[in-house]
């Protein structure tokens, strides 16, 4: 690896571009909490492959940066993808992709870590590698290039992006990032080849080295030495052993989720059959009330944020949420600080919870019934009744909220037109209950926002074998929905089904998808999560140009028992469990949550050698 000189003239070059680009604050660094370590011997660039204001919201990168800052002699800096106006200006001026803190060209760091948070950022990864001057494919890189390492939720099916990475981490990163850096530093010290340093990473638990796996004719990836046959997901047993990062960088720009955050628990075993996060982050591990309150107060003091968010996949499920909120409300009284609890389950939104959250500044309130009919909610194992929906809305509006947002999905397996119409009926009922609970004079400002996504089947879920509902059919069902949802007092919005089609193809496909991704990037695909930048036609044509059918990749079902592109990734879930859950979906039979009732046999605890960890001990409820 070459020695790194901190490039002050790179800033001067960038500065000249800033008066001419949108939102220059994306590129200036110098935020509160940003830190540099110019003399570090080992340099890491951590990237969220999207615009600054999206990437700065990512908690995982904050956690990983904090873990890397603990290491001696290691500098960790942030990278985001410059917006299209800036990347054009950078190419024109021959300015390479840079890290924010020290304006070091990314191609000069030792390790380039990239979050794979969702499939719609895949083209951004290629754009970033190209802007950095790093060859897109791992096979074309040499000793002068950084190791390119991925990780994050979408990595659970790593194959579509596999050729672009030297290694991909599957699962929790807190310990693994430190081990990866240690391994690479040891390799550098002993002077081994790039190939040998990459292979050494394969011996770290949770690290997938794509070059050591060859897709066979049946689709199964075969491992060669020293890689294991199946890469076992990395997992932390005890979250309390890892304090939340309390002094993250505080942005100037108006970013998504601009607030202090504390992760209160990891994992969710409610068992929604469509939900990848609920499957691959098992088991539930709660942090203790004391450490949550401690980190929340310290985080607010260090950042100066006016809002605190208690994050997780299902925060209201935390066994100690009420006492935690009571303590926080008492500490924050009179400071104008709002507390928000995203991902609320409607069956856990109780009267005391509504009162606690309604105290002080109210943040938005969002619930996800996901489906309109009880039958479909049972088929997807949402485990919510209409009565619970109605009660939650009643409590919220009685406690003073005037706006609620509801998430639904269409295109779910087993869905019929009747189920789609049921969404309209449920929204109508919610609107009625909200009106009844609101004093007459205040009903004018009452709003029910309804956001409808298209179902995307994901790896490691009971619906992993299902193909996505074809786009024309999705559009037909959207029309049914539009006609059945009341207009007054309701704000209806959709996710664009054409980007959901891309998401499905990239979530379900194998390594061959990489050619399609590269072809699409070559004809200009990037920022696909931004409606004004996304073009389905561009993707379809790019896929066709390399002999791939994107529509088929999204909608063709897999046969149970045959190898899947992600069969070599061991998330801990037993295939037997996923098959049983799929069968139960067809019969609309629900499966309970193992943190409240008995073990459901998903296999994670035994396979990965961990256990459910509830703050109070024992089970919930």
């Amino acid at each position: 690896m070459m020695a790194v000189s901190v490039s002050s003239d790179l800033w001067l070059q960038v500065e000249r571009l800033l008066p001419h680009v949108e939102r220059p604050t994306r590129y200036i660094d110098h935020e509160w909490g940003a830190c540099r370590r110019d003399d570090a011997a080992y340099r890491v660039a951590l990237m969220y492959p999207d615009a600054y204001e999206v990437g700065m919201a990512n908690q995982a990168l904050e956690v990983l940066a904090a873990r890397l800052q603990e290491l001696e002699d290691v500098a960790t800096e942030r990278v985001f993808l410059p917006w299209v106006d800036m990347s054009a200006a950078m190419r024109e001026a021959a300015i390479p992709l840079f890290t924010l803190e020290s304006y070091t060209p990314v191609c000069e760091v030792d390790l380039f870590g990239i979050t794979l948070s969702n499939e719609l950022t895949y083209s951004n990864v290629l754009e970033a590698l190209d802007l950095a001057g790093i060859p897109l494919r791992a096979v074309d890189r040499d000793d002068s290039h950084p190791l390119v390492i991925g990780g994050g939720p979408s990595a659970h099916n790593p194959e579509p992006m596999a050729p672009f990475f030297d290694a991909i981490l599957i699962g929790d990163g807190e310990d693994a990032v430190q081990e990866i850096v240690a391994s690479h530093r040891a390799s550098i010290a002993s002077g081994v080849t790039r190939e040998e340093s990459v292979h050494a990473l394969a011996t770290i638990e949770g690290v997938y080295v794509p070059s050591l796996y060859t897709p066979g004719s049946d689709g199964r990836c075969m491992a060669s030495q020293p890689a294991p046959d199946r890469v076992r997901r990395r997992i932390l047993a005890d979250l309390d052993a890892y304090p939340a990062p309390v002094c993250p960088v505080v942005p100037y720009a108006d970013v998504v989720h601009d607030r202090a955050t504390v992760e209160v628990l990891r994992g969710c075993s409610r068992g929604c059959r469509f939900c990848q996060a609920g499957m691959v982050y098992r088991p539930v591990r709660e942090r203790s009330a004391d450490s949550i309150v401690r980190d929340a107060i310290a985080g607010l003091a260090c950042t100066g944020y006016e809002e605190l968010s208690l994050t997780s996949l299902s925060t209201a499920d935390h066994s100690q949420l009420e006492p935690i909120l009571r303590r926080l409300v008492a500490r924050l009284e009179g400071t104008g600080t709002a507390i928000s609890v995203p991902s609320l389950r409607m069956d856990s939104f109780t009267v005391p919870l509504a009162r606690l959250l309604g105290n002080g500044r109210k943040s938005g309130l969002t619930f996800a019934p996901e489906a309109g009919s009880q039958r479909l909610r049972d088929a997807i194992n949402k485990n919510i009744t209409e009565e619970e929906v109605v009660t939650a809305v009643h409590e919220a509006f009685t406690a003073g909220w005037r706006r609620v947002k509801l998430y639904f999905m269409i295109g779910l397996p087993t869905e019929t037109d009747e189920d789609v119409r049921a969404i309209g009926a449920l929204v109508e009922k919610v609107l009625h209950v909200a009106r009844e609970a609101t004093p007459k004079g205040e009903r004018g400002g009452l709003r029910v926002a309804v956001s409808v996504a298209t179902f995307v089947p994901k790896a490691h879920t009971p619906f992993q074998w299902d193909g996505q509902t074809p786009i024309d059919e999705v559009r037909r069902r959207q029309r049914i929905l539009r006609d059945s949802v009341p207009h007054r007092g309701v704000e209806l919005s959709w996710h664009d089904p054409s980007s959901s089609l891309l998401e499905a193809a990239l979530a379900r496909g194998g390594r061959e998808m990489a050619d399609g991704i590269e072809a699409a990037w070559r004809v200009g695909a990037r920022f696909d999560a931004w409606t004004e930048q996304f073009s389905l036609t561009r993707w379809l044509e790019a896929f066709a140009s390399v002999g791939l059918d994107m529509t088929a990749a999204a909608s063709t079902a897999y046969v149970q028992g045959e190898p899947l592109p992600w069969s070599h990734i061991d998330s801990g879930l037993a295939e037997k469990f996923l098959r049983l859950e799929r069968a139960r979906a067809d019969s609309a039979i629900t499966t309970p949550d193992c943190t409240f009732e008995e073990c459901t046999g998903c296999g994670v605890c035994t396979d990965l050698g961990v256990d459910i960890s509830i703050a109070e001990g024992g089970r919930r409820g």
């Binding site: 008066p19 220059p24 604050t25 720009a253 108006d254 950042t303 944020y305 400071t335």
Partner: protein
């Protein structure tokens, strides 16, 4: 404003932080006040907020040497102490210049501050006298009509520029100092005036060096 102690803060927006927008600058200072642990007052109502108010907006890319904000404190804290905690809570490029208490009945910064002083650096090439001649010639025409974001505005220059611009040379750079009157109809942007006088694309940088209150024919700083 009602009861409480009205603390007036003078701060800079400098270096690369000149690229902050007015909204971003405001948010950054609110957070700095929270980090500093100031006993700020909070508004009543559905969404309680910090009682903080800012002076006139500074455009993205324009630096400011003496910008202002008012914040209402629930308790009196000696100025020396406020200075110390704020210096430790905000990045240097957005740092505190000075602060002090003003009477609670003092009008808002937005309404009291009516004169802005700017320094505009013009790229080299023309002699000082030539620039002076061009500026005077434009002022002599009496009016300047400006297109901004599709809107058409006419400025009466005698009113918009209450004092004659001054030109000086400093280390090979040409700097124009301008006094601009701010009003409800908006104020003349210094770079627009300079471009109209000496031609486009010659402004290197714009810095607002002072904001003043007009009191019976005399000008004074708000602190």
């Amino acid at each position: 404003m009602a009861e409480g102690f009205k603390l007036r803060i003078c701060f800079r927006k400098s270096g690369r932080l000149r690229f902050l927008s007015h909204l971003e600058t405001g948010r950054a200072w609110e957070r700095a006040a929270r980090r500093a642990g100031l006993p700020y007052a909070v508004s009543q109502g559905f969404t309680p907020r910090m009682r903080i108010a800012f002076g006139p907006a500074l455009p993205v890319g324009t630096a400011g040497e003496r910008e202002y904000l008012d914040i209402v404190l629930k308790r009196f804290i000696p100025v020396a102490e406020v200075t110390e905690v704020l210096r430790a809570s905000v990045v240097p490029e957005l740092g505190l210049v000075t602060c002090g208490y003003v009477p609670p009945a003092e009008g808002s910064l937005a309404s009291r501050l009516t004169i802005a002083v700017y320094e505009v650096e013009i790229e080299g090439g023309s002699p000082q006298q030539e620039i002076e001649r061009s500026l005077n010639a434009l002022v002599g025409t009496g009016r300047l009509s400006v297109e901004h974001k599709g809107k058409h505005k006419v400025f009466e220059l005698a009113k918009a520029l209450p004092k004659k611009p001054e030109v000086r040379s400093q280390e090979g750079r040409t700097i124009v100092r301008m006094w601009v009157r701010m009003g409800e109809q908006g104020s003349l942007r210094p770079e627009v005036f300079i471009a109209a006088a000496v031609g486009p694309d010659r402004v290197v940088s714009v810095t607002r060096t002072d904001l003043l209150i007009e009191d019976q024919q005399s000008w004074r700083r708000p602190l």
